[in-house]
């Protein structure tokens, strides 16, 4: 619909380039390249033949005139204004900051990662301390306790995750029983499948899988919620009104996770045992009544205590990691995403490390 931009070279009067066609972004095509290859010398650039000029066309002509010391002629009132504007705006800028060399960058990144790791550890410890202090303040002044917020978190963290945690545990119970049965059958010891299912789910997997699920469901939500509130300056607004975000946001979430985790872990273990029992009934012909009797004989009460001790600790870790990362969000929306990821990774990592410590500890104290 518009003629492509073009030019003719006229050697008279020290050289003139006469532009024709549409000097605009849409039809400029390869004009810049052809212009660069144009034969010199050129003293004048005549744009009177051009139909429409936009800033890109003006820029290309202006650049050529600047680089070759030529003058632009044939300007109307509007185009002169346009050329003035473009000429005024002629300052080279960097599109990106220059990057250091590969080795320097590698070194820098390693250094930054190390510093970041220690900073995070330091910040996380400080945040834990802050949570404890906030809890202490609440104990001293129970009226400041956000009862409704906490109960709401109970529902979100606990009740609403019953379905998914139940389903997951049920399947895990079946998988353990099935795999156990296959292996133990080789020794004619299928009946020990019950020991396996009962002890491993109650002592380890029930609480561990629940912790992972809660970290994925609630830890990430805490980080994203608090991070978004940080971005929209809600947290700053709270502080100026005199509401402590630690008391209003962090404490209800931490308390909810600490109180819900043992219940969820116990529930998860039970559902896993039911799943395992169902598989034993179907594939090993062990009737449920025998299964339950056997569970009572082989699973010591201390297994339940182990999981009930671990669960609240894991809950606290997950909630604190989530809230801490949320509070670290600054500046832009991308950070909400990265901080949420970090919160989940950190929570699951810490939970598994702590679980290893707990395993050694409980064996040492004789709860095996």
């Amino acid at each position: 619909m518009s003629a492509p931009a073009d030019f003719q070279h006229d050697v008279a009067n020290g050289g003139t380039l006469r532009f024709t066609g549409d000097l605009s972004l849409r039809s400029i095509g390869d004009l810049p390249e052809r212009l660069a290859a144009a034969p010199g010398p050129v003293a004048t650039l005549d744009v009177s033949g051009a139909q429409r000029i936009d800033t890109v066309g003006a820029w290309v002509v202006h650049r050529y005139a600047r680089d070759h010391g030529a003058t632009v002629t044939g300007l109307g009132e509007n185009t002169r204004h346009l050329f003035d504007q473009v000429a005024q705006a002629d300052h080279p800028i960097e599109a990106k900051r220059p990057e250091p060399g590969t080795f320097a960058r590698l070194l820098g990144e390693v250094g930054e990662a190390v510093i970041q790791a220690f900073r995070t550890l330091y910040g996380l410890l400080g945040f834990m301390g802050g949570t404890v202090v906030a809890f202490g303040r609440i104990l001293g002044n129970p009226r400041a306790f956000r009862f409704n917020a906490t109960v709401h978190r109970f529902e979100v963290v606990g009740v609403q995750s019953l379905g998914i945690i139940g389903l997951m545990s049920f399947l895990i119970g079946i998988v353990i029983a099935q795999q156990g049965a296959v292996q133990l059958r080789q020794f004619g010891a299928e009946v020990f499948t019950i020991n396996l299912v009962g002890r491993i789910t109650l002592r380890e997997l029930g609480v561990l899988m629940t912790a992972i699920m809660v970290a994925g469901r609630s830890g990430s939500a805490f980080a994203a919620q608090i991070g978004t509130m940080k971005l929209t300056e809600e947290i700053d607004a709270m502080r100026t009104i005199g509401v402590s975000p630690m008391e209003a946001l962090v404490l209800p979430r931490v308390l909810a996770a600490v109180l819900m985790m043992p219940l969820l872990a116990f529930y998860a273990s039970l559902v896993a045992i039911i799943g395992g029992g169902l598989l034993c009934w179907i594939s090993l012909d062990i009737p449920p009544i025998t299964f339950i009797q056997r569970i009572r004989e082989v699973v010591p009460m201390t297994d339940l205590y182990v999981s009930l001790v671990k669960a609240p600790v894991f809950g606290a870790i997950i909630a604190i990691a989530g809230c801490f990362q949320g509070m670290q969000v600054e500046a832009d929306a991308e950070q909400v995403g990265t901080r949420t990821t970090t919160a989940v990774v950190q929570a699951i990592f810490l939970v598994i490390v702590l679980d290893a410590f707990f395993a050694v500890f409980f064996t040492e104290v004789g709860w095996n």
Binding site: G29, T55, H81, Q88, A89, I93, E334
Partner: protein, 284 residues
């Protein structure tokens, strides 16, 4: 299709939102609603080529929704919208892209891509629509656009998070001007700017409009902007555009909202400042 305004305001046929001649944007019988809440009902509006049209209205009258409908981010319940003579609601994706590259949009917060630097933000539409342009030319185009919108050259390699609110607006404007559009949508460009910055932004809009022959669709609450740069003002109220005209023409209407808006203390202050500015301009 085109329904006349249902209750013509006294003495206002010439302030009708419908024009006879050529219009860049033609909105007819637009209806937008969110659930029960009806935002627009039977809204008509024409925007002339080459004018700066200011769109005003109280909070919640759907100024931004109108803009979003025109640029295709909000699908209206009913009505027709033509931009550059093409029906934007019915055209196929290829045509839609062709229309899109002829307009630029500045969102309220700038809406810069946070993972890209300012210069890269400006280059995004260029890369998208004109992939054959070489990197050196892209960098130069980004450079003069950034400087043209009044940012200092060292803003180029900065990320949006490092910019102040006013700088973000300017960077957003630079991006919306990247494709040398014929039509520019500005959503409250001067909101949140200091008066000096706002005046500079107005001047910038006006000078760009003059130089580039732009049509500008300007949503604003800023009375100074309305007086300083708008050729016509469209008033949104009662779910439609009740009148379009110059401020003087609008003042002749006895609609209570218009009177209150332009004759309130702020409106009068804007008149005085506009008059002073005009005198100064004549003196020079």
């Amino acid at each position: 299709m085109a329904t006349a305004p249902r209750s013509a305001r006294p003495g206002s046929p010439r302030l009708s939102p419908i024009l006879d001649g050529d219009a860049v944007i033609r909105v007819r019988a637009l209806r937008n609603s969110f659930g029960e809440q009806v935002i627009h009902d039977g809204l008509d509006l024409d925007v002339r080529r080459g004018e700066i049209i200011g769109v005003v209205g109280g909070s919640g009258t759907g100024k931004s929704v109108l803009m979003r409908s025109i640029i295709g981010l909000q699908v209206p319940d009913e009505g027709s919208i033509e931009v550059f003579g093409e029906p934007v609601l019915e055209c196929d994706p290829v045509e839609a892209i062709d229309i899109r590259r002829r307009w630029g949009v500045l969102f309220q917060g700038g809406a810069l891509f946070s993972t890209l630097t300012v210069a890269e933000n400006v280059q995004v539409p260029l890369r998208e629509f004109y992939p054959h342009l070489g990197q050196p030319l892209l960098d130069e185009i980004a450079a003069y656009k950034v400087v043209m919108t009044g940012l200092s050259p060292d803003a180029g390699p900065k990320y949006p998070a490092e910019l102040s609110g006013g700088m973000k607006k300017r960077a957003g404007l630079a991006r919306s001007l990247a494709l040398d559009p014929e039509l520019l949508f500005l959503d409250e460009p001067t909101a949140g700017l200091d008066p000096i910055g706002a005046a500079a932004f107005d001047e910038l809009t006006l000078s760009l409009q003059r130089t580039l022959g732009l049509t500008v669709f300007l949503i604003t609450h800023d009375l100074d902007s309305l007086y300083a740069i708008c050729d016509r003002v469209a008033v949104l109220a009662d779910k439609r555009v009740i009148a379009v005209g110059t401020i003087d023409e609008l003042l002749e209407l006895d609609h209570p909202w218009i009177q209150e808006y332009f004759n309130g203390p702020r409106g009068r202050a804007a008149v005085t400042s506009a008059a002073t500015a005009a005198e100064k301009a004549q003196g020079v």
